[in-house]
Amino acid sequence: MKVSPKLQALIDKGLLDRLPVSFSSFCLDQMKDWELLFPAERSYHERLFGLLDRSSAESVEALFAPVREVERAMGVNEKTFPKGKFTLDQVDFLNRNPRYPEWRAAIAKVFAQVDPVLDADVARSGHARLVVVMAPSDLAADPSRMWLRIASRGQRVALDGEFAPGLLGSVVQDFAAGKHGGAYSSWIVEAGSALARVPAAGAVRYSYEGHAPYRKRLMKEVQAVVDAQVAPGPRQFSERLKQMKILASEGEAARDPLLAEFARAILLSGNGTLLINNTFVEWATVQGIRRARPSVMVVGFGIRNKVKPFSSLLIYADQDTSNPIPSQMDTLGTYVDLEVFYQYIWQECEKYAEYRNNTAYLFVGDGMDEILAIAPADFPLLNAKGPVKPSAVAQASKDWLGV
């Protein structure tokens, strides 16, 4: 396993050996593909183990005592938990153990004590961030019926004109080139191609539509594995899936091993990301936030198609070719889906110190004349007197980000 020199020095000192094996094995597993971790993930591990290293032996022992206790009660030993190994076998062992809820509670207690200290570090070096979540133009909903689950947390701002995706290009591009920019700092995740046409050099881009060649190949290959019955169980199946990497011809993500692996993981995560455009968008966004902590995240949802009778049961089949019934948009269903996803994206960000109190969230609709802004009180748009021009939204975002 290759990790940073700083972390390797801590491992060499035997820091992980002093921790409960279920905790240390999980951490080692998370770090084993170091090259495929985003800078934010690497930094987290360095800070976590740095903190444990700086802490006294007694306080570390006290911190992990409840975990050790429950490990003993669960029967964690070298056989059930070989050192450094955290595969599906260990996950299975934990899940099926009667004391699993206690183990979860003990682990949660560790992080409840550690996270505030780590968060304080992050908060000290915090900077302004921007998350823009865009509803598609075909969503025939009145603005007053939009963002209902989170509207009370922000302020509706009337626009003097309609919002268009093109306004966001220079915001993303200028940030990526600025002092807080750099690799993986700005992301654009979308269902279709509206944002793909927006020039934003330096941004990480994922698009459900743009990944169609990769998605369709994955569906075929997964179905072939299922049909051939060469993967008798979930462990073998998972190993097969890990080999299905994006090809250079299937998208820009293939150029960067980290982004290529992220694309594979998103599409094969077991949820509906292969099947439903907005699930792909939500899951890629949530995982991007969790793992990469981008400073600028622009999210574009689309309209989901209606589920076709019978053929929709075949989850790895291309619905356009497996059923002669033409695809139809499900605008009402999409509206219901997105109302939940707006909440989930906002919530995910607010879990992390990087975003809390630093982030302006703009929920916009392509072609809509009203937006919802959830932001700290000093975000410029919150003081607008009367409708603002859509271009002023972009300018306010730049001012907020300091670019």
Binding site: G233, L314, E339
Partner: protein, 384 residues
């Protein structure tokens, strides 16, 4: 003038107000075995949250169950304390013991199922206990590996959605004219799969061997035909589950059934609207099942239907991804409800905690059989 002693007066007075001050179950006499009782357990498989069902904001998704509740007994707090995976959750319900086996169907339930207790003790035949389920791993749900019980006393397990999957896959592969848009194509393949290799879809039908017994086959085909020609053009796995269940009830009138609906597990796809649609569909099908019980002379007046979700799903505030998953173990995953309807169910409700493992303990009592080693406790509210 009638003279009574003070002691006798207190006794009589106590009896006359007992209805007002004691729960009915406390006054119940020990029960005789319920020799002709029938039990149908209906699970909202795949998992559903309180917030989309019996919570005030969820009731619009389940109009049939909301309408049925005043006629039955509602357990407001029915808890799944076990492993929050599909096989283990349902296996806990049918065994009365928290199950911690492999969740992909590679192991049978670790405890004796209520199907086995029922069939072994009553001598009931193989057509008297059925499990109509969805997930292929549930093929082994009908019997434990216990040597004293096991397959000879297990339930017939049929997996209608697996049959449908096979048929649809065949139609798509063969590219027949009209493809799956032609319901006749689908019916032909459904019948074909049934004739050619029903065991391939995971079914276990006792006594029938490799070729389906003629009566069983005709029954299942009738279910398929009803499904394909249904006036509402049904196309989901759960609708097929319903039609097959109804035909089995009409033809064999089993005394013990597990009906495992599953469409709502579409939540894993990440579409909240599809998840809500599936809940409403399951609600409708459960209502139709109750209608069948109420109109079928084999079942009317002697059947208890127990409806419960096999598990919940993660809460919206949860760290995972809300309704998409059910891994967190938070209250939204564990704390569910159960609605009991029919013969054993008085009108009422309770908020006392009951558990999924109590279902099997109650069912065996309702069937008049004894079961040793069930961790769950019989639900006294249903055993008056």
């Amino acid at each position: 003038m009638l003279e009574i002693s003070k002691r006798r007066f207190v006794q009589l007075a106590g009896l006359s107000i007992a209805d007002k001050i004691w729960p009915k179950w406390l006054r119940a006499e020990p029960q005789m075995p319920r020799r002709d009782g029938r039990v149908i357990i209906v699970t909202f498989g795949g998992g559903v949250r309180y917030s989309e069902t019996f919570a005030p904001e969820g009731q619009r998704n389940i109009p049939r169950l909301v309408g049925m509740r005043p006629e039955g007994y509602f357990f407001e707090n029915c808890i799944n304390s076990g492993v929050l995976s599909h096989f283990n959750s349902t296996a806990s319900i049918v065994t009365g013991n928290w199950q911690r086996v492999d969740d992909f169907g590679f192991q049978p339930p670790a405890g004796v199922t209520l199907f086995e207790y029922y069939r072994k003790q009553t001598g009931a035949g193989p057509m008297d206990a059925w499990a109509v389920a969805t997930n292929k791993s549930f093929a082994s749900m009908g019997a434990s590996g216990d040597r004293a019980f096991g397959l000879p006393y297990g339930a017939n397990v049929v997996l209608p959605k697996q049959l449908l999957l096979e048929a649809v896959q065949d139609v798509v592969k063969k590219g027949a004219e009209g493809g799956v848009a032609s319901r006749e194509n689908v019916l032909q393949r459904l019948e074909g799969v049934l004739s050619e290799g029903y065991e391939g879809v995971g079914w276990t039908i006792f006594k029938a061997g490799r070729t389906l017994d003629k009566q069983v086959r005709e029954t299942l085909v009738r279910g398929l035909v009803e499904y394909i020609n249904g006036p509402e053009a049904p196309a989901s796995g759960d609708e097929l589950t319903f039609f097959i269940t109804r035909e089995v009830m009409r033809e064999f009138a089993p005394r013990l059934m597990l009906v495992n609906f599953w469409d709502m597990d579409v939540a894993h796809w990440g579409s909240y609207s599809l998840y809500l649609n599936a809940i409403t569909r399951t609600d409708r099908l459960t209502g139709m099942l109750w209608d069948e019980i109420a109109s079928n002379p084999h079942y009317r007046g002697k059947t208890t239907m127990l409806v419960l979700p096999e598990l919940g799903r993660d809460g919206d505030q949860n760290a995972a991804n809300g309704f998409l998953n059910h891994r967190s173990g938070d209250p939204s995953c564990r704390n569910m409800w159960m609605l009991a309807m029919g013969a054993a169910a008085p009108k009422g409700h309770t908020d006392r905690p009951v558990y999924h493992v109590d279902v099997a303990a109650t069912a065996v009592e309702l069937l008049g059989v004894k079961a040793d080693g069930i961790a769950g406790k019989p639900l006294r509210e249903l055993l008056l």
